[in-house]
């Protein structure tokens, strides 16, 4: 390596991903990646978020225009059953409607599906760092693009205790051994039970993560028998973790290409 002075700087989000990878490697978690331009099937349906379900409101979505895929104008009487996507899947129809992924969770499905295809059985342990998109008004804490970290562990008898242990291990390594964590009930269509995770840091409780045990429908959608295996999944905003740790006040500062930010790190 060159001397530190002559060196350039790594973007703080990348630096966080670098650190996160090494923390999870200690627990045997591999890295997985997936596309930013997803299909409706992977982003929603396979994750137990059917079309016309109120759970879709939890994520403001960027759909993109396309000539090739059927438009979203629908007959009011068709597709009224909320299980329609599952039925469609059984008929071999998966919605190819393109969408900028709203979370890194589709990589859960892609990764597992691929392993199953290769005949590789669980345990699977991965973390997925990647860019995601939300169609919401931007301000200091909201940006149309940000980075998410997805975590997934599938094995026989994976429990909420493993989830808690993993997250505590990660957050202590990332923020310092003094942090505490706690779970609160929540809802994510792709986990059951679901839990929101708060972290106590410098005397304050902060919401940092969403998590839970993988929903049997999601395991099934990716080709795993939920009777034999269970898994946990979690997701958190990497931008938020970095902002908490460094005091960067505005999420938009990450994406305007400004060295006045990058050169500090």
């Amino acid at each position: 390596m060159e001397s530190k002075e002559a060196q350039g700087h790594i973007h703080p989000i990348s630096q966080a991903i670098f650190d996160i990878r090494s923390i999870f490697e200690e627990l045997g978690f591999a890295i997985a990646v997936g596309p930013e331009l997803e299909t409706e099937w992977y982003n929603f349906d396979a994750l137990n978020i059917p079309n016309d379900h109120p759970a879709r409101d939890m994520q403001d979505t960027f759909w993109v225009k396309t000539k090739n895929v059927k438009s979203e104008i629908r007959n009011p009487k068709s597709e009224t059953n909320s299980n329609i996507q599952i039925q469609k899947e059984e008929n071999g129809e998966r919605s190819e409607r393109p969408v900028l992924r709203t979370h890194t969770s589709p990589v859960q499905i892609r990764y597992v599906e691929n392993k199953v295809k290769l005949g590789i059985k669980p345990p699977y342990k991965i973390v997925v760092p990647g860019k995601v998109f939300r169609n919401e008004a931007t301000d200091a804490t909201h940006e149309a693009q940000f980075f998410q970290l997805e975590g997934l562990y599938i094995d026989k008898n994976v429990s909420l205790a493993h989830l808690k242990g993993t997250l505590e291990f990660f957050l202590k390594k990332f923020f310092g051994p003094e942090i505490e964590i706690r779970f609160r009930p929540s809802f994510f269509a792709f986990t059951e039970p679901s839990a929101e995770v708060d972290m106590k840091w410098k005397g304050k409780w902060l919401e940092v993560l969403g998590s839970g045990l993988m929903h049997p429908n999601v395991l099934r959608a990716s080709g795993i028998d939920p009777k034999e295996y269970s898994g946990f999944a979690f997701g958190c905003g990497i931008d938020r973790l970095v902002m908490l740790k460094t005091g960067i006040p505005d999420v938009r500062m990450f994406y305007n290409g400004d060295l006045r930010l990058v050169n500090q790190f």
């Binding site: 060159e2 530190k4 002559a6 060196q7 350039g8 790594i10 630096q15 670098f18 990878r21 627990l27 591999a30 890295i31 990646v33 596309p35 930013e36 331009l37 079309n51 016309d52 109120p54 759970a55 960027f62 225009k65 396309t66 090739n68 629908r74 009011p76 009487k77 909320s82 190819e96 345990p123 860019k131 149309a144 693009q145 429990s159 909420l160 205790a161 493993h162 242990g165 993993t166 706690r182 009930p185 929540s186 809802f187 059951e192 039970p193 679901s194 045990l213 269970s230 740790k245 460094t246 005091g247 994406y255 305007n256 290409g257 400004d258 060295l259 006045r260 930010l261 990058v262 790190f265």
Partner: protein, 652 residues
């Protein structure tokens, strides 16, 4: 869901804990509390009911049942008044044309009601949760909805011509809503209509034509059940989202129809002055059957999923608190699901119920065993390899927006004019960042700018493969150099060659305007799979971010001659003279330049001439709260000049 503390208390004999404590208990066993607000002599908790629990918890009763389970405090036994129907009240004639979408319709008439102001308790209850009181009839329908979660509607029976029909609207039909919005209907919307046309937008909003007003004497009460997907889609397409549509799109137990209409009739009877009020027969048209539902509970598996050892009696007791009774059928433990709990469908739902009520804090943290193959995706590895090489070569990584004002992949509802497309290259936004950073170079203490970005771009949908469109998403690399024009080509070519050499690949891309861009997928696909993680980068230089000013800065240089300290004594070297150190001069500048210096003094030039030494320093001035004027900076520089002169140094 806004919850009145007083309203909630009416469900219990026992005094509830303070609103603060209650909020805390709800937060850790049920749902997030968005706010606690004192309204008059009541307190209102805003409970964030998430979609799974909306089927029962968008109501005071639903929240009360939760509170009962969480605190393990029984609900009050409420004496329900028996409804007395008058056989001679005119019956309601209902026809359902769309039984798939209107799965149930419950209706009844009421005669001789007196429309007027609501009693104080009713007004207060509604106003505490932010609902405006309209009249006793409308208030009663709203009250029942917020109490048990069942939306209801009352029509003025004398304004209804003929019977009620549930049908699709006809193209060109128009309905004016209760809040005077004109809705032009297509044949996609379901309406409740009479012989003359639409009376209400089914499940979403009532219409003006059969509105209850001061003159209303007779009512038709309606409690129908609508297909959740249909309601959700229509509320979105018409832009009319209401308390009713919110409840219907989350599904409701059909059994609430009968209960809702009975409660409403009794409430109207009791608040409109019972004299002469007559309740008609309940009409029910139903296309859905309700079956009792049970779930098999594997108590051992619950313990295993939660990671907490729980006995069968403990689990049965938690479920009892939630109103879920259990019984044994042979070896099997069966849980009987209350009809309104449409969220409890699979075994895992029961796991969550048990977990949250015993408390997630009981779960111990267990770190899973390490081990296993930790594979590294090729693309991820080599993107990091590129970062490592470029950072070592003095380039810094930036990130820019994934959206652009031009491109191939158009966003359906873009956030802004300049974000109408997913970017088709990095160059567009990257060039702007290069310019900005080059302008800021003095502030960053350099004369050259070296940056790069690695990110996904979306050139176009790729050729369809196997009949399916695939995304044309690829990873791209942009490298930029800002500095003397004549150096640009050499710098960029040099770094591209360096990358090529280190990775053993040839990078071909577009070199233009100080930026080189190339896509990486094909290049990286050909590289060998990484065997281990061997990337090393320096750890962050700082843990904490230091704020910087967004106002313009002003650069000033100062050059001066200094004479030798004392001629010939002591002769430090053969060169001879000893001069005051650059540090001592910088110190004198720093001390006199004032608070607005954000960078410097930095020595950028030094030479000897005629036995004197010339030193040149650069200072950068900037304010956190305003744009600096030349005059202000001149004044600071004057101070610097005076101080330098006092030291006997000659400012050039």
């Amino acid at each position: 869901m806004k919850v009145s503390y007083k309203w909630l208390q009416s469900y219990f004999d026992e005094k509830l804990p303070t609103s603060e404590e209650l909020s805390d208990r709800i937060t850790f066993s049920f749902a997030e509390i968005e706010s606690v607000e004192h309204v008059g002599n009541d307190t209102v908790l805003d409970v964030k009911v998430l979609p799974d629990r909306a089927c029962y918890a968008l109501s005071h009763r639903g929240i009360a049942r939760e509170v009962s389970a969480i605190l393990n405090v029984p609900l009050k036994n409420r004496e329900e008044k028996k409804i007395v129907e008058s056989p001679d009240v005119i019956s309601v004639d209902v026809r359902i044309d769309e039984p798939e979408l209107c799965t149930k319709f419950v209706a009844r008439s009421m005669e001789n009601v007196k429309v007027g102001e609501s009693p104080a308790w009713l007004k207060e209850a509604l106003e505490s949760i932010g609902q405006r009181s309209i009249n006793n009839i409308v208030d009663a329908t709203n009250y029942v909805m917020f109490d048990i979660g069942r939306p209801l509607h009352a029509f003025d029976a004398d304004k209804v011509k003929g019977g009620l029909v549930v049908r699709f609207a006809r193209k060109g039909e128009v309905m004016v809503t209760l809040d005077n919005k004109r809705v032009e209907l297509n044949n996609n919307e379901l309406v409740i209509a009479d012989d003359e046309g639409p009376l209400s937008l089914a499940g979403i909003k009532g219409g003006k034509r059969a509105e209850v007003d001061e003159a209303t004497k007779n009512l038709i009460l309606e409690a129908a059940n609508w297909n959740p997907s249909y309601i959700r889609r229509t509320a979105t397409s018409t832009g009319i989202k209401t308390e009713a549509s919110k409840r219907f799109e989350n599904r409701l137990s059909p059994l609430l129809g009968e209960e809702g209409i009975d409660r409403l009739a009794l409430l109207i009877e009791s608040i409109t002055g019972a004299e002469g009020v007559r309740i008609g027969k309940r009409e029910i048209v139903s296309f859905e059957e309700v079956h009792a539902r049970t779930l098999e509970v594997d108590t051992e598996l619950i313990s295993r999923k939660l990671g907490v050892a729980l006995s069968e009696p403990e689990i049965v007791d938690v479920l009892r608190r939630l109103g879920i009774s259990c019984n044994k059928e042979g070896e099997k433990l069966l849980a009987h699901i209350p009809p309104e709990r449409l969220d409890l469908v699979i075994f895992e739902d029961i796991v969550e119920e048990v977990g949250r009520i015993i408390g997630y804090d009981k779960i111990l943290a267990v770190v899973p065993q390490a081990g296993g193959v930790t594979e590294i995706p090729t693309s991820f590895y080599y993107e990091w390899k590129i970062r490592e090489i470029l950072v070592n070569a003095g380039f810094s990584e930036i990130q820019t927006s994934s959206f652009s004002d031009t491109g191939e992949i158009a966003i359906l509802k873009p956030l802004a004019e300049d974000k109408k497309y997913a970017r088709a290259n990095l160059r567009g936004n990257f060039e702007k960042a290069l310019k900005m950073n080059a302008l800021n170079a003095p502030l960053l203490g350099t004369s050259e700018t070296r940056i790069f970005e690695i990110g996904r771009i979306f050139p176009a949908f790729a050729e369809a493969s196997a009949g399916k469109p695939t995304s044309g998403e690829v990873t791209s690399l942009a490298i930029g150099y800002g500095g003397p024009k004549k150096k640009i080509a050499g710098e960029l070519t040099g770094v591209v060659e360096l990358l090529g050499k280190e990775l053993c690949v040839t990078l071909t891309g577009e070199m233009k305007d100080g930026v080189f861009e190339c896509t990486l997928n094909q290049v990286l696909d050909g590289l060998s799979e990484p065997k281990k993680w061997d990337i090393s980068v320096f750890p962050s230089r700082n843990v904490k971010f230091a704020p910087f000013s967004l106002y313009p800065f002003i650069v000033r240089d100062v050059a001066l001659f200094v004479s030798p300290l004392a001629k010939g004594v002591p002769p430090s070297s053969e060169a001879g003279d000893v001069f005051p150190s650059a540090d001592s001069v910088a110190k004198a500048i720093k001390e006199n330049a004032g608070q607005l210096v954000v960078r410097g003094p930095e020595l950028f030039d030094e030479f000897l001439k005629d036995g004197k030494k010339s030193l040149a320093f650069r200072l950068v001035f900037q304010s956190f709260d305003r744009t600096l004027s030349d005059e202000e900076v001149n004044a600071s520089m004057e101070k610097v000049y005076s101080a330098l002169k006092l030291n006997g140094w000659e400012v050039r």
